[in-house]
Symmetry: C2
Subunit: 205 residues, 2 copies
Amino acid sequence: MTVENSPPGSVRPRGRTERVRQAVVAATHAQFRAHGYPSLTVERVAEAAGVAKSTVYRRWRDTAGLLLEVLREMSGAQIPLVDTGSVDEDLRQLAVSIVRVYSDSENGPMVLAMIAEAVHDPRVADELRAFWRDRNENAADAVRRGIRRGELPADTDPVDVIRTLAAPLYYRMLVTHEPVDETIATRAAAAALAAARAGALDTAG
Amino acid sequence: MTVENSPPGSVRPRGRTERVRQAVVAATHAQFRAHGYPSLTVERVAEAAGVAKSTVYRRWRDTAGLLLEVLREMSGAQIPLVDTGSVDEDLRQLAVSIVRVYSDSENGPMVLAMIAEAVHDPRVADELRAFWRDRNENAADAVRRGIRRGELPADTDPVDVIRTLAAPLYYRMLVTHEPVDETIATRAAAAALAAARAGALDTAG
């Protein structure tokens, strides 16, 4: 089966484009799982997805582009941004979701492979920067709600609270290779909130 | 020139072993700088260092072992652990030193390459884990002194303060690809101290 992608600017129904995207995401997952990052190729993904190679090249360019599509999909589906009415609980759940994604034997290694790739490939680094800028901006809405409810100081930098929460988890996974679990996630969220409440994460910084 | 390493258990003077080590560290630096990680080989390093290949293989095993030797050297020389009499100032200087190492156009990329390698190679991950365990234990002495002076709560987890300080710097460099500088380092140290003072980094966690 070959599914054609819509040409740029076309007004074709969104359904086909979305079906192509889903097939490509699923095929990238499967190829990564079966062969690992070094063997991942656009050709293999296109064939496994039943999509023309030219479509995959045009829309995702290379394997880095494919992995980033997977990252977006994974992030949206598996790190839900909750609104419990309490910034402490919203951030605790966010930290726990991050740990869960990386504990997943399929998704975790794929995201870590992308992070490693970005060390050597400035294009991947640029894409990760854009991805996390959007992601952390969205996650920061929980902090903004907390500020409005008076749970955090008015001059708290919302995105910096998210960075401070997430950073110890990535530090353990990437740098010190120490374990992460829900207890550590809960502690990371509490430490970020404590720093914010002490004024150490204000917008002046 | 070929410099022989001392066999295990020998009582030969330490001088020759140390000279070999220094030559190998310098050659690893030079080879990495000239050709990058993918082209780094034990053979090239041995030749450039004027050391027998068998010596390099026996003592460092492979390129991961060579990079870790460089990491140890770099860490000791360039991230000095100061004792200013104030935990706030000790930790601020530690954070600033970390940023400086990674801003260095030679050392920074080498350490990041090792971190990327560890994502795919469990042996490198094990070595990094051991390296940072020692390193963070030593750095935590500044926190222990602060606890003794009453600058931090008695039940503060010293190593966790170091992790919390370092994590946002690595998070920016590796995950979000956002800039780091001395202002951000100072802020990371202050946030870790604020979290510790609020009791969020106690040993119960």
